[in-house]
Symmetry: C2
Subunit: 662 residues, 2 copies
């Protein structure tokens, strides 16, 4: 759980985001909509810069990755193939008292005494139960019914009206098939028929912290049965039990929760003018699947050969039960995903003689043709860490978490989470998974379209291999394919047949590529960048008055505004004219901000808070007022992080800045 | 309707888009999903360039516009305020025979003879009706029931089973309250009960082209009643009518269509774990409303004063009934919208003494403080035309359509559509609307939050005006506000009260800004750019063999790849090394493509087809093989559009290209 100190930081960040127009609550004027956040002017620029940096790094600066921009709504079959329709769900439970819904696995564990009730009897007329004797007027104790029913528990009374209960009991009693009540049943029944509404045998439990009086539990239980239509409910069968760390009770009121039920996190809609089951479509819960679905089209049109990657950025949607931690877990978010397709290890071995051994820790260097999935995976982990370093999140602020074998999805061979220490805890920024050939295989199976590629190098190499090598590689490939088939529910005979076909295909140069997937969340990265950049300085003036200011120490490459341009004084036309001239020259090349309002210190502070790395001030020296100083056409360049100032010629300004902000 | 010749062009464009990876059908391997399109590697770059150009032009290069990036799912109240929940719909009708759905206003008009039927009688056992006498065996004619019913039409028989009909008629007949049948009813009824399923009194009509035999109509009508569960239906009450240009019949089979019903075009989903009416949310059908909803937040945090604008790009969704024309009208698309907020004319007049007169045709120049909505509107029309010119769509390929007063929405003061001649017809690329203060007023009304701004200049100016001027401006402002209130359903008394308050506010410097909205569709712009760039050249070689090649003449600024870099021969290491060196130097600054495969002519052709404006070839002269030519470290630069080649020093290459591609 978050420590108070850290919450203070989150509050400061949230408040700064709103105050400076980085992030607003979506639909704020209408009270907001939970889990949705808008980027204001500075936030939109920040996000653009981050996306540009990712896209440039991942596609433009690489020969082996191309881009894709697919739609958010795709054919629903895609989500059946990927498994999202069946398994992309959270376990949900409801408070039996208030109906409030919880993520079952995120309920705060509770300890204490549980009060169980078997049911309750309710009065229709609201005739009060005598507290002293626990009987109705007329001498008939509802506990008699309970007593009778406990001896005849094979008979369900739940849901019956009073008349129904009476008939049921009378019938059975008269037939002699059940134990009678202890006193004149007929009299009591007739009376009861007039007074009772019904008997509820729905069980209900409440957890109280140790030491709280039982009356608290009874009050809640009565509320529960009253909500089910029983007036002045009389509780039946109270019994207590001690529990530790139970997640089965609402932490807010102690009431019992329903058993967990899976709740699919995909937003559902209907495409087309009719809204039948055939028209159901989903908002994509991840961008990755579009890449797999378009793999063949891209492969065929982009002149790329395996190994190569397809990159995509875009919105994804998850109907999170409890969106939280500001923009970290929201319902609409953006992803930046790469699917990097590689040859199966058997193909690499056939071509290169052997698969290169995984490297010691660190970057394995430039890709080599003898790399198997492990080296490619290591490579991408390191490339991604390098990316974060390039935008200001240094390696030492990231944690690498290698998932344990038991944590991996059945098809995954490895997965590394890159974690960042957010103010609310250390959480995932990106996952880099080695997903085997699972994804393309699933789409081949569900679409009936081949996802395999033909690899000329493999076919040539295969022809030159010794028969024992053939057998060995075929066997390994066969085993892997068989394992996939069996895991996805194909029966043994068919799985063996298909795995055999696949192994035969390998010998002809055909295979379904494996994939390494570095998958980053844009919005949580923005949040990480904000948290990473956030710092405060407290200054005390001559009069002892101290002031705390925020500095956002963004890397210049992602800072929303690159440079602030100020005339020293706004009422000197020469200064203003010169400042505007400088501003015009810079803004064509980068996001610049012109400001002439207020003292120069205020203007610096405003830019510090926006994360602008550099400010340029045009002063009288710029105009050459003191020729002896030889400062004509120079400006004061001020650094955000340490307030350091230097003098720079206007002619040098643009290249100086470009070298730092791009 | 599209002319055949133009369809050929569309087919060529579509096919090129798929072949070169500009645009693929979404979810193609699953048979696609209608109205959704993915951008492949080249398309994604093209789209990025277009969006970058828009964003740079609209925000970075302007001091008076800031950006926003809001969510796709917003609070549903926004769409009530905007009117989308109530009125954003198409009239839809269904074919009564096949259930096929049509846009009622887009049904192809038909002329001919309509065959009307009052209903039909159906046999349960399938016992055939004798064609000669139109009676069942047993002598009972179904037309008797019809005859009886026509005299007793107050009695509804529709939906009753045969038993029900029999009981109903018998009861009424015995009571003497209705006319009897013409022969032994009891006998007939008993027989009928065994044979009939039910009587359908659902009316149905079919339109046949003049000259077609009535049997065609009867066949369709029988099919219709048979689908409703009547076996061997016997048609009742046939009657014919001549019609001209009717849209009430399915053009494919002549069957009657249901009356038009409004069909809301917003995609609907549910947010949160329960899916109740309270959880309904919509995918935004336009990006504009988010700007209005966040107007106050942006205004308060961005240090902007009216006039200023907020720009946003992003996805929008419309559940189009008939998506068509490739990506022109799709269900998921992207918009680029600016809302430019201006002072109401009354405020401008108060401050500047008079509102400047609208300009003669053309660009009115730099914005002035005395501009009213008309000049601002003209200004944005011209700015937008200029934008299109800057990315290769010249003014003379655009058509300006000024909407006529009767075409305008009630709140709009003017709207100009910029049209482009697509291969399938001249269609809207962008609309530039003067929307008065309608949008912000609606959100003020629905959210209860003030959308007004305080204008210091206005308050100061107001204090110096003569009382007659006060009265005049107040009156005009009052009239406009009153008109808005009344149009949106506020009752007269309240409208007058509120308009009075607003007019009083104006005198204190307060008003709700008016807005000019240039709204562009990104995907249709991409399509326009493709159509605009598409050209073919046919060349004939020495042997008389001719070849037709495609050249995409994109403006360099938006071309997906800016420059191709080739070594003349791939088997000369010095050429390859030098070419890679040039390539590396360029790609950091722009999207470059290295290619060494095939003859140089093939490589040029490949880039022509991708729309790459420049190609650079490294040849032996580059290496300085002939020192006397003095061509060392120069390259051949080849122009896409005319194949022209020139010699350029490598050192000049980057600035030369940058000046053209940015």
């Amino acid at each position: 759980m978050a420590e108070p100190k850290e919450n203070v930081l989150m509050e400061k960040i949230t408040s700064l985001c709103k105050r400076r127009g980085f992030i607003f609550q979506s639909s704020e004027i209408y009270g907001g909509i939970q889990g949705f956040w808008d980027y204001g002017p500075l936030g939109a620029e920040l996000k653009r810069n981050v996306k540009d940096a990712w896209w440039t790094t991942m596609t433009r600066l690489r020969d082996d990755v191309v881009g894709l921009e697919a739609t958010i709504i795709m054919a629903p079959q895609i989500w059946r193939a990927s498994g999202h329709v069946d398994t992309f769900s959270d376990p949900m439970c409801d408070c039996l008292l208030t109906g409030k819904r919880f993520r079952a696995d995120q309920v705060e564990p509770q300890s204490g005494i549980v009060y169980h009730y078997l049911g309750a009897l309710g009065s229709a007329s609201g005739a009060p139960v005598s507290p002293a004797t626990n009987t109705f007027e007329g001498g008939f104790a509802p506990t008699m019914i309970e007593g009778w029913h406990s001896k005849n528990s094979q008979i369900s009374l739940d849901g019956l009206t009073s008349a129904g209960i009476v008939q049921e009991i009378m019938l059975i009693w008269r037939s002699g098939a059940a134990a009678p009540l202890d006193q004149s049943v007929e009299h009591a029944m007739q009376w009861a028929e007039a007074v009772w509404q019904h008997l509820s045998r729905v069980q209900f439990s409440i957890l109280l912290p140790a030491g709280k009086p039982p009356e608290s539990a009874r009050k809640i239980a009565k509320e529960f049965y009253a909500k089910r239509g029983l007036m002045s409910p009389l509780l039946l069968g109270e019994r207590t039990e001690k529990v530790e760390n139970s997640q089965r009770f609402n932490p807010e009121n102690g009431a019992q929760l329903t058993p967990p039920v899976p709740f699919n996190l995909m937003f559902k809609t209907y495409v087309g003018p009719t809204a039948t089951e055939a028209d159901v479509a989903y908002l994509r819960p991840e961008t990755a699947q579009a890449i797999f679905a378009q793999f063949k089209n891209v492969h065929e049109t982009s002149r790329q050969k395996v190994p190569f990657g397809i990159a995509q950025m875009g919105k994804a949607f998850r109907n999170e039960v409890t969106p939280r931690n500001f923009t970290f877990r929201s319902r609409e978010f953006e992803q930046m995903e790469l699917e990097f397709f590689i040859k199966p290890d058997e193909a690499v071995e056939a071509i290169s003689g052997a698969v290169a051994a995984p490297a010691a820790k660190g970057h394995p260097g430039e890709p080599q043709s003898n790399w198997g999935w492990q080296l490619w995976h290591q490579y991408w982990v390191e490339e991604r860490i390098k990316f974060y370093g390039d935008i200001g999140i240094s390696r030492d602020t990231l944690e690498e978490y290698w998932q344990k074998p038991e944590e991996l999805a059945h098809y995954a061979r490895a997965c590394v989470d890159l974690l960042f220490k957010f103010p609310f805890g250390t959480q995932e920024l990106e996952g880099i998974a080695a997903r085997s050939d699972f994804d393309l295989s699933q789409h081949e199976k569900h679409s009936g379209k081949t996802m395999g590629v033909f690899d000329e190098d493999l076919r040539t190499a295969w022809g030159k291999l010794a028969p024992e090598k053939h057998a060995e590689l075929s066997k390994r490939y066969y085993d892997n394919r068989l394992k996939y088939m069996l895991k996805t529910g194909v029966n043994q005979a068919q799985a063996e047949r298909e795995a055999k076909e696949d192994a035969d295909g390998l010998a002809k140069g055909q295979y379904i590529p494996h994939v390494i997937e570095p998958s980053a969340g844009t919005d949580r990265l923005i949040l990480a960048l904000l948290a990473n950049a956030f710092s405060e300085v407290t200054t005390t003036d001559d009069k002892g008055k101290s002031e705390t200011r925020v500095i956002l120490k963004f890397h210049p490459r992602i800072a929303p505004v690159k440079v602030g341009v100020f005339p020293l004084l706004k009422n000197k036309p020469e200064l203003v004219a010169k400042a505007k001239e400088v501003y015009q020259a810079l803004r064509g090349q980068m996001n610049a901000y012109y400001d002439e309002a207020g003292a120069i210190g205020r203007r610096y502070a405003r830019q510090d808070e926006a994360g602008t790395p550099f400010c340029v001030t045009i002063d009288f020296d710029t105009l050459g007022e003191k020729p002896e100083l030889n400062l004509k056409d120079t400006v004061t360049l001020r650094h955000r992080d340490d307030g350091r100032q230097e003098r720079l010629a206007i002619s040098e300004l643009l290249p100086w800045l470009l070298a730092r902000v791009r």
